[in-house]
Symmetry: C2
Subunit: 205 residues, 2 copies
């Protein structure tokens, strides 16, 4: 039983590919405590895009996990989360960007970022830097306090944790192995992905 | 002392206008418990837009209020919140839309929505329905629970509560008087706005 396609995203890099309706996307954190930012668009019309605000509203939840549906700006299902061995992800923050490293961490010069790693890999589909919205930040652990405080803590994911998404429409998907030290407990690791046919995954669950 | 411009947004409707850098925008809830969704874009290049994710990240807070800066997708300040007599707003959810009324409330046929009220008024600047992102939902009271649950509660705003924003760049601003019953404690009320020069407002604070 082999995957339709699979890959390992090197630390602090990214990738993008097409996923057809019904196909399954499995994303694995092979070494633990590594965030993967996901952005997606309808293949046939990239003006339809993953919407954090719609997803949270329909879920009635600010924590998105197994059983939840990721919705587009046009209120159509894009992905359903079939399985999730970690259970803690973020859908509030935007991908780390060069400007963020300058502003929050006073970094000087170039720094790899999820924002750059998404738009450079999505460029073949005509998606530029201003069309990266709030990403689904898989394995990212954002903690909120009642007084409003928001902090980024080490991921709760352990080596081998994975999430399985079913595509509900034809999609272009961008993925990263996140480049921000604070989000990944200070160590940059790869992210693994596999694209599976439904009947293949049925045998694995 | 007169405002440069002012208006009353009728219940379940919206408006849009230009604001120049340095000008002040005062938004008032004249009767209490009424939400106003705000979206904005750089006047000279509407590919630069208000970003919830960037704003929350830079604020280190999921509650955005007095003293916070609203950032663009390019990490530039768009507005600074100079004064806020309510202190409770939402920056997680997208505007209510026709599809949302169908999906969440099983409404049939047309229903006024902040989404439609924004894109119809922003159309003269070339901004269409797919370019309404997560709005700053002034006076909206979204409550989050540690287990993930998210609920929309009656606004905490009382009659006459207001928020004062200073434009940090030239902007196109869309505003609404929200059309969703659940967000406004079941009664649809207007929203007042005033555009002021800095020296005018200095005398009022």
């Amino acid at each position: 039983m082999t995957a339709l396609a699979k890959g390992r995203i090197a630390p602090q890099s990214g990738t993008a590919f097409e996923v057809k309706k019904g196909q399954l996307l499995k994303i694995t954190d092979p070494f633990g405590e590594q965030v993967c930012d996901l952005m997606c668009y309808r293949l046939q019309d990239t003006e339809e895009w993953l919407s954090s605000g719609r997803t949270l509203d329909y879920a009635g939840s600010w924590l998105i996990r197994q059983g939840h549906v990721l919705y587009s700006n046009r209120s159509n299902p894009m992905f359903t989360i079939l399985k999730d061995t970690c259970g803690r992800h973020d859908f509030l923050l935007t991908p780390c960007s060069l400007e963020m490293f300058h502003k929050l961490y006073h970094h000087q010069g170039h720094h790899p970022s999820c924002h750059e790693n998404l738009y450079t890999h999505l460029q073949p589909w005509g998606i530029g830097p201003d069309r990266i919205f709030t990403t689904f930040n898989i394995f990212m652990n954002v903690q909120l306090q009642p007084d409003g405080k928001l902090t980024v803590e080490p991921p709760m994911s352990k080596a081998g944790d994975w999430i399985l998404l079913r595509a509900e429409m034809d999609l272009i998907v961008g993925l990263t192995a996140c480049s921000a030290g604070q989000s990944n407990n200070g160590r940059f690791k790869p992210i693994d992905w596999e694209l599976l046919e439904p009947e293949q995954q049925a045998l694995r669950l």
